[in-house]
C-alpha cells in the first residue's frame, strides 16, 4: 500500500513538486536565518573566546556586554590580584575609536591592548607573527578588518592607519574571531593603546585572570564582595549573547522564520488537501475494494513523509550551499549550520507533514463508499 500511495502521489507531478518545493523553501529559510542568527549572536562572544588563557573576566558594573564596556579604575588591578583564589590577573584594554587609512578612508575600529609582559590575549595569526606589536607603532588586524580598511587588496606589509595623529603600521593578519559589531579588530600592545587614547583617565577596560577554582563560583563571590561585575569565560559569553538577544536583535530573524513556517505549512497542507480531493474518487474506490482506514492512513503518512524528506533534503542542501557561498563575506566568515538548527528544522517539518497527513486523513475518513455508484 505504501508503494501504491507513492505512485498516486508521483502521478500528480505538479502538486508533488509544489509541495516538495514549499517544504524545501521553508527548510531553507529556517536553517539559513536560524544559523545566521546563532552565528550573529555567537559573535558577541568572539573576543571573550579569543582570550584563551583566561577563565575569569572582571569589569565595571555598568558593562553589560563585551562591546559596550566602561573602563575600570586603574587601582582595580591590584585589588583583583589580592583576591584569594586568583592565580593571575592582567589588564585588557578595549576601545572603539576612529581611524583614517593611508588612502584617506575613515573607519571606526576596535582597538585591543594586549598586556606586553604576559602577552595574555595575544591572537593566533593568519599571516605574520604577533611579536612586532610589542614594538611601538605596530598593529595587527583581523582578515575582515583588512577587507574593510583596504577593500579589494590582498595583505601587503607596510600599510598604515592613523589614530589621533599617530600612525600605526599593520604588520600582520590575525585570526581573531569576527566581532559582533563588524568593526575591524586591531591588536596592539597595552603601551601603544595607552598612547593612542592619551588623555583618558581610565584605560583598563577588563581585567582578565585565571583561577584554578570553579570560575563561576569565584566570579559570583567577586560580584558579591566588590562592586564589580565578574563572570567566568563562558558566563561572560552567555551574558553578551543574552544582552543582544534582549535588545531585539533576533526579532527580524524570528519574523522570517515564522513566515517560512507559516507559508510552508499552509501551502503544503492546502496542496495536499487539493490532492486528496482530486483523488477522492480513486480513494473512495479503494475503500469499496476493502482498503481499511488504517491502510489509508499508512498511505497518506508515506506520501507526507516522502514530501517532507525530499523537501527537507533539498532545503538543507540549498541552505548548506548558500551558507558555504556567503562565508566569503568577511563579516559572515565562520558561518555554519549548527546541527541543532537542522534538528529543529526537521522537527518543524515533521510536525507540518504530520498535521498535513492528519488533515488529509480526516478528509479521507469522510469519503462515502456508496458514492462510487454515482457518476
Amino acid at each position: 500500500m505504501i508503494s501504491l500511495g507513492l505512485q498516486i502521489l508521483r502521478y500528480d507531478r505538479a502538486k508533488y513538486i509544489a509541495m516538495v518545493m514549499a517544504i524545501a523553501l521553508a527548510s531553507f529559510l529556517i536553517q539559513n536565518q536560524a544559523s545566521i542568527l546563532v552565528a550573529f549572536l555567537g559573535m558577541s562572544g568572539s573576543q571573550i573566546k579569543d582570550v584563551r588563557e583566561a577563565n575569569l573576566w572582571i569589569m565595571e558594573p555598568d558593562t553589560e556586554c563585551f562591546d559596550q564596556a566602561k573602563p575600570l579604575r586603574d587601582t582595580a588591578l591590584q585589588t583583583v590580584r589580592g583576591i584569594p583564589g586568583i592565580d593571575w590577573a592582567v589588564p585588557l584594554i578595549k576601545v572603539d575609536t576612529n581611524a583614517r587609512t593611508d588612502d584617506g578612508k575613515l573607519r571606526t575600529v576596535t582597538l585591543l591592548g594586549v598586556d606586553g609582559t604576559n602577552r595574555i590575549g595575544e591572537p593566533r595569526m593568519c599571516i605574520g607573527s604577533a611579536s612586532p606589536i610589542y614594538l611601538k607603532g605596530n598593529a595587527i588586524v583581523d582578515p575582515g578588518g583588512w577587507e574593510l580598511l583596504f577593500p579589494g587588496t590582498s595583505y601587503t606589509p607596510g600599510r598604515s592607519i592613523r589614530i589621533h595623529d599617530q600612525w600605526l603600521t599593520i604588520t600582520g593578519i590575525s585570526n581573531a574571531s569576527p566581532p559582533f559589531t563588524g568593526l575591524p579588530v586591531l591588536h596592539v600592545s597595552d603601551r601603544t593603546a595607552k598612547e593612542l587614547i592619551r588623555g583618558e583617565t581610565r584605560t583598563t577596560t577588563f581585567i582578565v585572570g585565571r583561577t584554578s577554582q570553579d570560575p563561576d563560583d569565584l566570579s559570583k563571590y567577586i560580584s558579591r564582595a566588590t562592586n564589580w561585575r565578574a563572570y567566568s569565560r563562558e558566563g561572560f559569553q552567555t551574558q553578551s549573547y543574552t544582552f543582544y538577544e534582549g535588545q531585539g536583535v533576533p526579532m527580524i530573524f524570528y519574523i522570517t522564520i515564522a513566515i517560512g513556517l507559516t507559508v510552508g505549512a499552509a501551502f503544503t497542507a492546502q496542496t495536499f488537501i487539493m490532492f486528496i480531493k482530486e483523488n477522492a474518487r480513486g480513494i473512495t474506490m479503494l475503500k469499496v475494494l476493502g482498503v481499511t482506514h488504517g491502510q489509508l492512513a499508512v498511505m497518506l503518512a508515506a506520501q507526507a513523509l516522502m514530501v517532507m524528506l525530499l523537501g527537507l533534503s533539498l532545503g538543507t542542501g540549498i541552505a548548506a550551499f548558500v551558507t558555504e557561498s556567503i562565508t566569503s563575506i568577511p563579516f559572515l566568515r565562520g558561518l555554519y549550520i549548527p546541527w541543532q538548527v537542522v534538528a529543529l528544522c526537521s522537527a518543524f517539518m515533521a510536525l507540518i507533514s504530520a498535521v498535513t497527513a492528519a488533515i488529509g486523513f480526516r478528509h479521507v475518513t469522510q469519503l462515502q463508499p456508496v458514492t462510487v455508484f454515482r457518476s
Partner: protein, 238 residues
C-alpha cells in the same frame, strides 16, 4: 430448480427512504430479492426505480431503513464496520458504469488492488492480475495506464479487478451503459464466461435489453418494488 443452500444473496422486506418530512422519498418499498450461486442474475427496470440503491444496500455500503440482507448466510448489518470491510474485501467484486480505475496505476496494478488490499505482495498480486487480464484478452495492455485505453478495454480491466481475488459475489452496475453495442456485448460475453462459476453469484444491474440473453434469471423492478422474476430466460428463448 435451485436448492435453498444455493442462495447467495437474500433480501427480505428492504425499505429505504431518503430525506424527511415533505422531501422524504421512499426509494425501496419492501424488496424481496434473491441471487444464487452459479447464476447470473439480472436486475432490470427503468431508470430511477431504485436498482443502484438496492445493490448498495446488498453490498453493505448503504444501511436499509428496514429489512434484512444476508450474503452467504451472513448479515452485514450485524458486523462491526471493520468486519464489513474485511468481508467485502474477501467476498465481493464490483464493476461500475464508470470504470473507476485509478489513473496513477497501470491496468495490471489496478486489477491487483483487491489483492494488495488483502496484503498479498506486489509482485505476486500483479502476476495474478496479469493472468486474469490475459484471460480477458488484455495481455498486451497490462502495463498501459487507463487514459490510454478505450472504454471497453477499461471495463475489461475493471472486470479483471472484480475477478482477481476470486470473490463469491460479483455486483455490476450498468456495466455496458457507457459502451457502444459491440464493446458492451463483448464485456457481457466475458462476464458470462469468466465470472460465472458454480460457487459464485453474479448480479448485474442493467436496462440494456440487448444483453438480456446472457441472464440465468431476470428480476424486474419498478418504482421500488420487485414486480416479477423470470427464470432461465435462455432456456425459454431456446
Amino acid at each position: 430448480m435451485t436448492s435453498p443452500d444455493s442462495t447467495a444473496v437474500s433480501c427480505h422486506g428492504i425499505r429505504k427512504s431518503f430525506g424527511t418530512g415533505d422531501t422524504k422519498i421512499d426509494v425501496l418499498r419492501g424488496i424481496q430479492f434473491e441471487a444464487h450461486r452459479g447464476e447470473m442474475t439480472f436486475l432490470v427496470g427503468p431508470s430511477g426505480c431504485g436498482k443502484t440503491t438496492l445493490i448498495s444496500v446488498i453490498a453493505g455500503l448503504l444501511d436499509p431503513s428496514e429489512g434484512k440482507v444476508s450474503i452467504f448466510g451472513q448479515q452485514l448489518a450485524k458486523m462491526t464496520s471493520r468486519d464489513q470491510i474485511l468481508f467485502r474485501r474477501k467476498n465481493l467484486g464490483f464493476v461500475f458504469q464508470q470504470y473507476n480505475l485509478l489513473p496513477a496505476l497501470t491496468a495490471a496494478e489496478n486489477a491487483a488492488v483487491p489483492l494488495l488490499a488483502a496484503g498479498v505482495n506486489r509482485s505476486t498480486a500483479v502476476k495474478r492480475s496479469k493472468e486474469i487480464l490475459d484471460r480477458l484478452g488484455m495481455a498486451s495492455r497490462a502495463d498501459n495506464y487507463p487514459r490510454t485505453l478505450s472504454g471497453g478495454q477499461q471495463q475489461r480491466v475493471a472486470l479483471a479487478r472484480a475477478l482477481v481475488h476470486e470473490p463469491r459475489l460479483i455486483i455490476c452496475d450498468e456495466p455496458t451503459a457507457a459502451l457502444d453495442h459491440k464493446s458492451g456485448e463483448s464485456v457481457m460475453e466475458l462476464l458470462a464466461t469468466s465470472a460465472v462459476h458454480p460457487d459464485r453469484a453474479v448480479v448485474v444491474v442493467t436496462h440494456d435489453n440487448r444483453v438480456f440473453h446472457f441472464a440465468d434469471r431476470i428480476t424486474h423492478m419498478e418504482d421500488g418494488i420487485i414486480t416479477h422474476t423470470e427464470q432461465n430466460p435462455k432456456l425459454q428463448a431456446a
